[in-house]
């Protein structure tokens, strides 16, 4: 029985990748001894004679003279056990059709550990490239450990020094999403947020340059404490949740609104750097000492001023009576995401409040909503709504008008962005306002004027106030 062995082209000179077959010293049927020169090859370095690694009969020359082949390519097959005939004068017996003896490779002796990494092949001491080994990652059998905190794994050598105290590192790994806005926060604040289960990406920073501070995280944690405990998502399958309560009411209201009210949405992107400064300034005033001042306060104020100038925006389409009801009070609604769902409580007679009072009302409204204690009365008779989508880190949206009202303003995330300011590109705080209005009541011109005035106020709160006075 024939026993065929293959000889692959070795790397004969420290990192060579290919060689030319210059001259075969043997032909098919020749008897060769071990270490007998069988072929001359030319590498980038030298003309080299290759000795046969086997004794036997040449079964096949796989590469013609003149061809250049990669290291690792089989070049000759030698029959090391030609069928019981004296080795000296035998031509290899042709194989019966369909029968092909197994071909042993020379040097399978080095295990294939490295074969799995980066397409290297280890069949030769010198590693040549191999055409059929694409560059790819190996398949991991065990996932990469997601230890959130590296620890030095060796004990202190200082006898007097205790081993480092390690805070428990068992925290969920945050899912980073390319779309999520990068927020500024120091590592310890991020750690605190992770430990408290707060996503810093959703917070609004009150620190220098808008950085998220420890107290921002703590405040967020306080407010989410009421939230229903999250439970792990069951894998696979489906889940059926009854439509009721706030979800049902919201769905009804939104469908009604979209089906009955012709919505128009307009957008404007504005530089609110001065508003941000004003927010900072307000925080320093004694009148605001006990209240949280956020950009939302100025947005609310801008709306109130805008509604004063354009009362038609603060109205209701009374279909049954064929009338438009223009309101001389502003019940300013602020949409809030709560554990129970979306609620839109409103501040009654907001137009009559001073700025500190307005701030307190917003705070109280938000607090009550987060506590889940918003009453039905709080949510009724609204006349205009603000939805602060910026707290979710998004830029803008097309808000749906709260039924019974004529318009709604969406207020997006405030970001530091390059902005042309006084003829130069500067880093400015920029946000986008989106106003949806009921086209039955409000024409494009009115809507646009209203939105532009609100924007102007936010771009330059001081001078807008002056202008008004």
């Amino acid at each position: 029985m024939a026993s065929l062995k293959q000889f692959r082209l070795p790397d004969v000179g420290e990192g060579l990748t290919e060689a030319e077959i210059v001259h075969w010293h043997v032909k098919v049927g020749d008897v060769v001894t071990q270490n007998q020169t069988i072929v001359d090859i030319e590498t980038a370095k030298a003309l080299v004679e290759l000795p046969s690694p086997f004794a036997g009969v040449v079964s096949e020359l796989l590469i013609p003279e003149g061809a250049t082949v990669d290291v690792g390519t089989p070049i000759i097959i030698i029959d090391v056990a030609p069928a019981s005939v004296p080795l000296a004068d035998v031509a290899p017996a042709p194989l019966p059709e369909g029968e092909s003896p197994a071909i042993d490779d020379l040097v399978p002796s080095i295990p294939a550990v490295s074969e799995m990494s980066a397409g290297r092949t280890a069949n030769l001491v010198g590693y040549g490239p191999r055409a059929d080994s694409p560059v790819r990652r190996r398949q991991r059998q065990v996932p990469v450990a997601t230890s959130s905190r590296p620890t030095p794994s060796w004990p202190s050598v200082a006898a007097s020094v205790a081993a480092p105290s390690l805070v428990s590192a068992e925290v969920a790994v945050m899912q980073d999403d390319d779309n999520v806005v990068s927020v500024l926060a120091k590592p310890p604040v991020r750690k605190l947020a992770r430990d408290l289960g707060i996503d810093v990406q959703l917070l609004h920073g009150t620190g220098p340059d808008g950085t998220i501070t420890r107290s921002d995280v703590e405040a967020a944690a306080d407010s989410s404490r009421q939230a229903a405990p999250t439970r792990p998502l069951p894998r696979g399958g489906e889940e059926r949740i009854a439509i009721r309560g706030v979800r049902k009411a919201t769905a009804q209201a939104m469908v009604n609104s979209v089906q009955t009210v012709p919505h128009v949405t307009e957008f404007t992107t504005i530089d609110v750097t001065r508003s941000m400064r004003a927010v900072t300034r307000l925080r320093e005033l004694p009148e605001f000492a006990d209240v949280k001042v956020t950009p939302l306060l100025l947005v609310a104020k801008a709306i109130l001023l805008g509604l004063e100038r354009y009362p038609m925006v603060n109205s209701t389409w009374d279909e049954p009576n064929g009338e438009i009801v223009v309101k001389h009070y502003v019940n300013l609604g602020i949409a809030a995401a709560t554990p129970r769902g979306l609620v839109v409580p409103n501040i009654k007679n907001a137009e009559a409040l001073s700025l500190p009072q307005l701030a307190r009302s917003i705070n109280a409204l938000a607090f009550t909503a987060r506590e889940g204690r918003t009453s039905v009365a709080d949510m009724q008779r609204g006349s205009f709504t603000i939805t602060n989508v910026g707290v979710f880190g998004v830029d803008t949206g097309t808000p749906i008008i709260n039924p019974g009202e004529a318009a709604i303003l969406a207020f997006g995330a405030i970001r530091d962005q390059p902005w042309v300011h006084r003829g130069k590109v500067k880093s400015r705080s920029v946000t986008t306002l989106a106003l949806s209005f009921d086209h039955r009541i409000i024409d494009g011109e009115l809507g646009s004027r209203f939105l532009r005035d609100v924007a102007m106020f936010l771009e330059d709160p001081a001078s807008s106030l002056l202008a008004r006075l």
């Binding site: 050598v157 480092p164 120091k186």
Partner: protein, 327 residues
């Protein structure tokens, strides 16, 4: 006993080492009758003979290469390189031979050797006499690298280096050679702080200053001044540059939340680079500010009239401390 200067403490430690083990020998240029250019080996040849305290030919590679042969034969050579800038003729023997022999012999050929190198500037010297090449050695696997900063440590650390079975590059703060400190020569070596341990030399809670060798004193001075300004700086003497005692260092940084590394060597790829990278990895969530570095500029060591501008001093340390605290 009376306060002892670092040079003298080293001399006492070397004497102890020579007394403790007949295989310990000292080799170097001018280490015999002269007692070394800094007199660290003063009187040792007289007491231990020329076979054990050897004035060698003036050839650094020769000193280290023959010391390697002596170590193969079972000796424990302590080689003195006269100045930091003169170690490079021996660099091949240190990096290619000394560092690798234990590894390439699979543990059959240990290299219990010490190479003493006075390092750092501030002494108004000519070229090649003021350099801080420690990172070039700490980078090499197979070497252990330490630096002493005071007399008490000098005395124990040199003895610990001699009994180490690995090659130890021993950096001595040459501008502090004559600074004195109390020293307890009676404490058994086994009770001393281990050779490769860092040490908190001044506790504080607002920021950690990491230093070694000559900069430890600079940092202690800075900490005193900062205390008057209301900032309590913790000073950690890193002592061992390879391996580094991470537990002690990270304990301190986790406690203070801020860290400034100070060394004379050029900042670029200096010890501070490794310290900052690893501290950031290990203390990421405790850091209130990025790890900052104070060190030499990316230039050759300047002429001595200008060296004060190159060397980190109290003001540069405190400026960087302020930067860190402002985050």
């Amino acid at each position: 006993m009376a306060p002892v200067a670092i040079a003298r403490a080293l001399n006492m430690g070397l004497r102890k080492a020579l007394e403790s083990d007949p295989k310990v020998i000292i080799m170097g240029e001018d280490v015999g009758k002269l007692g070394g250019v800094f007199r660290v080996t003063d009187g040792l040849q007289k007491d231990f003979g020329e076979d054990r305290v050897m004035d060698t030919p003036l050839a650094e590679s020769g000193i280290i290469g023959t010391a390697i042969g002596l170590a193969m034969r079972g000796y424990r050579p302590i080689c003195e390189i006269q100045f930091d800038g003169f170690v490079f003729p021996a660099y091949d023997q240190i990096v290619s031979q000394l560092a690798k022999l234990h590894y390439r012999s699979q543990g059959m050929v240990p290299m219990p050797m010490v190479i003493r190198i006075p390092f750092g500037g501030g002494i108004g010297a000519v070229e090649h006499h003021s350099e801080s090449p420690e990172a070039l050695f700490a980078h090499v696997a197979g070497l252990k690298v330490v630096a002493c900063s005071n007399a008490a440590d000098a005395y124990t650390m040199i003895q610990q280096a001699v009994i180490s079975n690995d090659p130890v590059i021993f950096f001595e703060p040459k501008r502090r050679y004559w600074e004195k400190a109390e020293l307890d020569a009676d404490t058994p070596l086994a009770q001393a702080v281990p050779l490769h341990a860092a040490r908190v030399v001044r506790p504080g809670r607002h920021l950690t200053l990491l230093a070694y060798g000559p900069m430890v004193k600079t940092c202690l001075d800075a900490a005193k001044v900062a205390a008057d300004e209301g900032h309590e700086l913790e000073v950690v003497d890193v002592r061992s540059l390879s391996p580094i005692d991470w537990p002690t260092i990270t304990d301190s940084v986790r406690h203070t939340g801020r860290c400034v590394v100070v060394h004379e060597a050029q900042k670029f790829l200096g010890m501070g680079a490794e310290l900052a990278a690893r501290i950031t990895e290990l203390c990421f969530y405790e850091l209130q500010a990025p790890v900052l570095r104070v060190g030499g500029y990316p230039i050759p060591y300047p002429p001595s009239r200008l060296e004060e501008h190159f060397l980190p001093d109290l003001d540069r340390v405190l400026d960087t401390v302020d930067r860190s605290l402002s985050f």
